[in-house]
């Protein structure tokens, strides 16, 4: 509450400043926004943005794609949530994607983004994201902009310290925020936290060809809370750094009880060493139930497999994997600079930002320059690993990103600003307000070995008066800054979807040329594909009725279906026969509880409809496709459960006027085109 009050005061101050500027004092407007700001963010009609940015949607469970510098929203990718726009989580093909050991969980909290890298630079293959609540890691394919895989993480609760990747995307890591009783009796009293609760960090291997993920091993840790993480790079490749809080091991009123100690930790993990132990067979396979969901691009269908065990490494038994670096006051961000030498810890409540040196860390470890132990693990001497501290950076440092010129940019939640400082000297160079209460920030290419710089985005937690009011619920606010010069300059303010946590940006030309335009109908291996109208048909298998339906401008085949009965389960497998870019068709039928699906060119998607009463059920195309889109419609007749209306289907041909198939059981399918 206190932090909020401070930020609002700052916010109001800024507001007054802007109000002052807007009166016609000469030169005034140049102080708030430089004269060329509009020009710098204006992307003319038909022109493209310079960067794609993949932005987490926070509590909406989605990922948004923005173009910069315009700030235009290009796409929303459903990941850990159903999506009414395209039927993700509603269609029979995609439901499996949201399966977990707890069943179907259609809404999670998506926090952080990691773009795949090769040698520490963006390679344009995949985007990883974490589901925070029911622990999961997702992989989005940058060719299709679709969720290709979701892997659940066992022995974890609050998957916040995720998904951060190693230099060549060897591993995606997932650290638990909540420690919980794992690998033993889980039904224990909460106040036995100190004895029974443990943490884990998971190392998920990534197949370099297919991207397929697999939990390679989990490292068992003391029962503390893991907040964020970053991999080492260059000289520090082989190490991983996790910020931790609650070294007090409190299980109630953490706001107070987990903020008691002067210092918490950054946990340094030597994952190359852990890998050696795994290869030497030192891990233990323990039972664990977790879902592994994978989309097959050929069949357009996701499958969910339940895994049964996971490999666990106990660093108490295996030396030289885990070390603790003292870090002031509940560190949040732990960020590694482009050279891989410096690790920046941001204590949310700290008055300084410590910068640690990887080479000093190595020296301290070999010289055993320790300051006691924590839960049996060596704690390094703060001064021995410290490169320096940024003095008086501002209030509430959270996250740090970097440019290619040796500068760091740290977001300050409490004082609502971004501070720019020199990584080598830790001198503050510049500061600029954000509106309001910034959380994450994103420099273009900021976490890579070669940041692109140029722009930086502030993703804020409080919006208040930035846009026209829209009731109590507001969009989140973000600002784009020009960081090409010595002074940071505000360029643009734009609303975002959900609550963005982290985001990463990649130059457009690294991925735009690979974007898929259509699914080739020849390569469609969906078990219910209809490759052409000649294959459109309706078949009954007991209570199941399968409709192989085709869609092409501007008709559905078949469009007259009779012989379906109350209590049937009708599967509409709709194949879009179009092979041209941007000609989706939609499908909706009255009364369906899964209301709609959307089908891309060459794709097959399935809507399950369970008619619960007799009647005439119109269906139609929901995506405006042509001048005759409104005519793209048809009827399903649903008869009583005991009816003997035969199953018939057709398009473009009618039975003799007034005839009722119910009275004529010899009537055959009349669908065939000449």
């Amino acid at each position: 509450m206190k932090s909020l009050r401070i930020s609002l005061t700052v916010g109001t101050g800024v507001l007054l400043l802007i109000a002052g500027i807007q009166s016609c004092k000469p030169g005034g407007s140049k102080a708030a926004i430089t004269g060329d700001a509009a020009e710098k963010v204006y992307v003319a009609p038909g022109k493209y943005d310079e960067f794609y940015s993949f932005v987490s949607g926070g509590f909406n469970g989605q990922m948004s794609v923005y173009g910069f510098p315009s700030g235009r929203l290009l796409r929303i990718i459903p990941v850990f949530s159903t999506q009414p726009e395209n039927g993700y989580g509603f269609s029979e093909e995609t439901k499996a994607m949201l399966n977990t050991a707890h069943g179907f969980v259609p809404w999670d909290d998506l926090h952080h983004i990691s773009l795949s890298t090769t040698n520490g630079e963006h390679d344009g293959r995949w985007v990883f994201a974490n589901g925070n609540n029911t622990p999961r890691i997702a992989r989005v394919d940058m060719k299709t902009f679709r969720t290709a895989e979701i892997l659940e993480i066992p022995n974890s609760a609050g998957n916040h310290s995720s998904p951060y990747i190693t230099e060549n995307t060897e591993y995606v890591v997932a650290g638990t925020r909540f420690s919980i009783p794992v690998l033993s009796n889980e039904d224990v009293a909460i106040n036995t936290y100190k004895q029974n609760f443990k943490g884990t960090v998971s190392f998920i291997s990534v197949d370099q060809q297919t991207g397929k993920m697999n939990i390679s091993f989990q490292i068992l840790t003391p029962g503390i809370d893991f907040d964020l993480a970053r991999a080492g790079k260059g000289p520090s490749h082989g190490w991983f750094f996790f910020s931790c809080y609650n070294s007090e091991k409190a299980n109630t009123l953490l706001e107070v009880n987990a903020s008691a100690k002067d210092k918490d930790f950054i946990m340094a993990v030597n994952w190359k060493k852990a890998e050696e132990y795994v290869k030497a067979g030192k891990g233990k396979k323990v039972p664990a139930k977790y879902a592994h969901n994978l989309l097959n691009e050929k069949t357009h269908t996701a499958t969910s497999t339940m895994e049964n065990e996971v490999l666990v490494l106990d660093p108490k038994e295996l030396n030289d994997i885990v070390y603790f670096i003292p870090c002031p006051k509940s560190p949040h961000g732990t960020d590694v600079d482009p050279t891989g030498e410096y690790i920046v810890g941001s204590g949310k409540l700290a008055a300084v930002i410590p910068v640690f040196s990887f080479s000093k860390l190595q020296q301290a470890i070999s010289a055993k320059n320790f300051d006691g132990t924590f839960e049996g693990f060596p704690v390094l001497k703060y001064e021995a690993v410290l490169q320096g501290e940024v003095e008086k950076p501002g209030l509430g440092p959270l996250h740090t990103e970097f440019d290619a010129n040796g500068n760091a940019y740290t977001s300050m939640f409490v004082s609502s600003e971004i501070v720019k400082w020199d990584v080598k000297t830790q001198k503050v160079l510049d500061r600029i307000p954000t509106y309001y209460s910034i959380g994450h920030l994103s420099v273009m290419g900021g976490p890579t070995k070669k940041p692109y710089g140029k722009y930086m985005v502030a993703y804020n937690k409080i919006t208040k008066d930035r846009y026209l009011p829209v009731g109590p619920e507001l969009p989140q606010s973000a600002q784009l800054y020009d960081i090409s010069g010595e002074k940071m300059k505000l360029l643009l303010d734009f609303p975002t979807v959900g609550e963005p946590h982290y985001a990463e940006a990649i130059p457009a030309d690294k991925i735009s040329g690979n974007a898929l335009k259509i699914y080739k109908i020849e390569e469609n291996e969906h078990p219910y594909v209809a490759k052409g109208e000649a294959q459109a048909k309706v078949e009954r298998k007991g209570k199941e009725v399968h409709v192989w339906m085709t869609a092409i401008r501007s008709h559905l085949t078949p469009d007259n279906i009779e012989g379906v009965k109350v209590g049937d389960e009708v599967y509409f497998h709709v194949t879009n026969l179009e092979q041209d870019w941007d000609v989706p068709h939609g499908f909706a039928i009255k009364g369906a509880n899964n209301a709609e699906i959307l089908i891309m060119p060459g794709e097959t998607q399935t809507l399950l409809f369970k008619p619960d009463r007799t009647g005439m059920y119109p269906f139609y195309c929901t995506d405006f496709c042509s001048a005759l889109h409104q005519e793209m419609q048809g009827y399903l007749r649903v008869s009583p459960a005991n009816s003997n209306v035969p199953l018939t289907f057709s398009t473009g041909t009618n039975k003799p006027a007034g005839s009722d198939a119910a009275a004529d059981s010899t009537k055959k399918d009349v669908s065939k085109a000449p």
């Binding site: 016609c24 000469p26 030169g27 407007s29 004269g35 060329d36 509009a38 020009e39 204006y42 003319a44 009609p45 038909g46 022109k47 493209y48 235009r72 735009s512 259509i518 080739k520 109908i521 020849e522 490759k531 052409g532 109208e533 000649a534 085709t550 092409i552 401008r553 501007s554 008709h555 085949t557 026969l577 179009e578 092979q579 041209d580 870019w581 000609v583 042509s626 001048a627 005759l628 473009g652 085109a673 000449p674």
Partner: protein, 156 residues
């Protein structure tokens, strides 16, 4: 939508300009009015098929006919019957007598160009009211469909 928002922004900036007596923000106006509208990523279909690119021979190449039939079933049959009946598009009966071979192939591989330039194609659009879709056939596939059309028209 975006451009109207920009127009609004421009308007507002002009209002600001008039009320404040000017301070050099007319550079924004200039930039806006000289900005050219263009598309950075025009869709590219096949190259235009010239009359000399197509040679018709008899007897028909039966492999092509059968390949063309396969393509027809998946990608064309939804709109074109093999009789002279028009459904979404015209029936194919007699099409090889009505149209030049390169015209047919351009309709298949370069439909956007044809609908923009070719008066006959434009007439068909007026009749059918549905733009013929680009079904993503390459030139060889289009040639095989043409062979199937010839077969449908009785050429041996």
């Amino acid at each position: 939508m975006k451009s109207s928002i920009f127009a609004l922004a421009l308007l507002l900036s002009l209002v600001a300009l008039t009320s404040c007596g000017g301070d050099g923000s007319d550079s924004t106006e200039k930039t806006a009015s000289t900005e050219t509208t263009s598309t950075s990523g025009q869709e590219v279909h096949g190259d235009e098929v010239k009359p000399s690119d197509v040679t018709l021979t008899t007897p028909l190449n039966q492999e092509w006919v059968s390949d063309g039939k396969g393509i027809y079933d998946v990608k064309c049959q939804g709109c074109h019957k093999l009789s002279d009946e028009r459904v979404v598009g015209p029936g194919w009966k007699g099409v090889t007598e009505r149209r030049e071979p390169h015209w047919i192939m351009n309709m298949i591989t370069n439909v956007d160009m044809m609908l923009e330039k070719d008066p006959e194609a434009q007439k068909l659009l007026e009749q059918c009211l549905v733009r013929m879709p680009n079904q993503n056939l390459n030139r060889d596939q289009a040639r095989h469909v043409l062979e199937f059309m010839r077969s449908n028209d009785g050429v041996k």
